[in-house]
Assembly symmetry: C2
Homo-oligomer: 340 residues x 2
Amino acid sequence: MGSSMKDVATLASVSLGTVSNVLNHPELVAPATAARVHRAIRELEFIPNAPARQLRSRHARVLGLVVPDIANPFFTEVARGVEDAALDAGYVVILCNSDAQAEREDRYLAVLESQRVGGILITPARKSLKPLGRLLGNGVAVTLLDNDAPAQDVCSASVDDRMGGALAAEHALDLGHRKIVWLAGPADIPQVADRELGLMSAVRHAGASVQRLAAKQMTTASGEMAMESALSQGIDFTALVCANDLLALGAIRALTRAGLRIPDDISVIGYDDIEFAASAAIPLTSVRQPKYELGHAAAKLVISECEDPASHAHQRVQFQPQLVARQSSSPVSASDTLRR
Amino acid sequence: MGSSMKDVATLASVSLGTVSNVLNHPELVAPATAARVHRAIRELEFIPNAPARQLRSRHARVLGLVVPDIANPFFTEVARGVEDAALDAGYVVILCNSDAQAEREDRYLAVLESQRVGGILITPARKSLKPLGRLLGNGVAVTLLDNDAPAQDVCSASVDDRMGGALAAEHALDLGHRKIVWLAGPADIPQVADRELGLMSAVRHAGASVQRLAAKQMTTASGEMAMESALSQGIDFTALVCANDLLALGAIRALTRAGLRIPDDISVIGYDDIEFAASAAIPLTSVRQPKYELGHAAAKLVISECEDPASHAHQRVQFQPQLVARQSSSPVSASDTLRR
DNA sequence: TATCAAACTTGATACGTTTCATTTAGCGCC
DNA sequence: GGCGCTAAATGAAACGTATCAAGTTTGATA
């Protein structure tokens, strides 16, 4: 069975308190004693009991990570960033998929509260931060992930989605495109809404215009369907900007099936720059988000609050996206320009 | 601050023990009393302290999930299965990416031991199960994930990789292919080795032969490189079977770039049937593994052992893979048959 | 040699639960 | 009305640790 500090104390002929000090306040104990204790620890293969420790010290090296769906490559990468930062600090991450459902999110928040986690990283399923209020009141550090903090009492780490939308638009405009389609997702996703704002304002600024298309979900299947039905209605355009890469990949299938060539007939621009974007049959031009860094930064924020809540100042960290041009986009073709 | 059972007891005018009984042994307490206690619980918004509970009862509703890389779509899906099963049982999952490195795996196992998790689901980074010995000795339930249990003291959930390899081979053979290339991954991955065994024996049984190609890693980039160099050496074949879908997608890029058409010139068969396989430009024929079910089953195994270690019998669960034919494979073309 | 601060150690207490041996109440029956 | 039972509730002990006031040793100083 696992041995306890008491066993260590006995074997090293010191008191329980001294063993505790060796572990938590080594500067208070004489080197010779510390050495003896360490020997005993090795001998007994003692491993501290984290739950007991937390019960007493009210400090847990456990984080909760609440995301809509880890199967989304964007969040997978974010999670890796979170996890690496956590492990570096001796923390551990509880993975919670909310499926963007409030009910499931609530269930998880309750479990996390019961587990008395030290901090929570969350991409909320809904606008209101009310459900987080309880947690905050109980001294749990909360950091918003891929969301900007509206309030003062939480940290946040996000990517500038308006800028990302603008980058995508400007790329298309720079290539000479004037007939642009924006393939959006569900309207209630704040990130998507921001991308749209950035895109629209850039386009308007250039005196061009955009047609808006909406997919039901942020998936390839949904992108394919939306594009297909638009094509059947004889939509006329030369560039397609999508709310994420999955939509773009789906749309490309529909376009290809309709006999359109990419990028010769249509330029396609995605968003997220997931790994598959680069290695697709037609490498996808996309707006890269520093996903790993986002997760890493968010985790460091929440950990720093866990470690020292008193002297912690809430921060907003915002990353800049970046356009990665690949083969799915090219200058508008001569014929299209003339036709216009 | 969070209220404790003591507060609840006071408010409901009962003893501490009674509150505990309401929570854990409701059959022992009179309905009227239970009602009073429940009212107090709601009133105080009491949420049990899981760590304290575990300290006393030595029973944790926490699982550790140790996988090589959650960014691999295979494991992402497995993780979802694990998580859903866990949440259903009121458990929570700690995510651990070992990166297939022994050192990182060890670090995580130590942290999980310190957290006193109730169970561990692991796809081990190395053959030896020694590092798990300590855990088992301390009463932690261990279940092998995507690995078959060699020993008697752990459960395991896996997919029949030999059969999968055979399915892929038989599909190619049925389509008339006789010049087959097997694009393998690193030799030390047991799953891949098994697939190869199944493939080889099916091919031999049919009196055909296989050329073996090895990629350095199980990634698109690696698959592309391996295929490219093979093509430059003038390899002659009509069907390509890959150790996983990522390799297949990479290989397809190299093939396409070399002017070969799929499936007209070369039939390509992947393994895993990740989501992208179906929605790629050329939908990929692949061997489907019940990924979600695998994770779900493994989690249920480990949870059942956690709940009642005494009456638990270790089990091996093995799933059957399934061939999903799509457009990347077709009957060998007349010209190729003649040429032979 | 007596004194005192500094450097270590100790031992008791509390964290929020579960468990279990006891106690108390309620009730039918001879 | 006393007996034995069952059902319900209680109270104390324990889980493994951190903390901190109080104790002990050490070594330097006067």
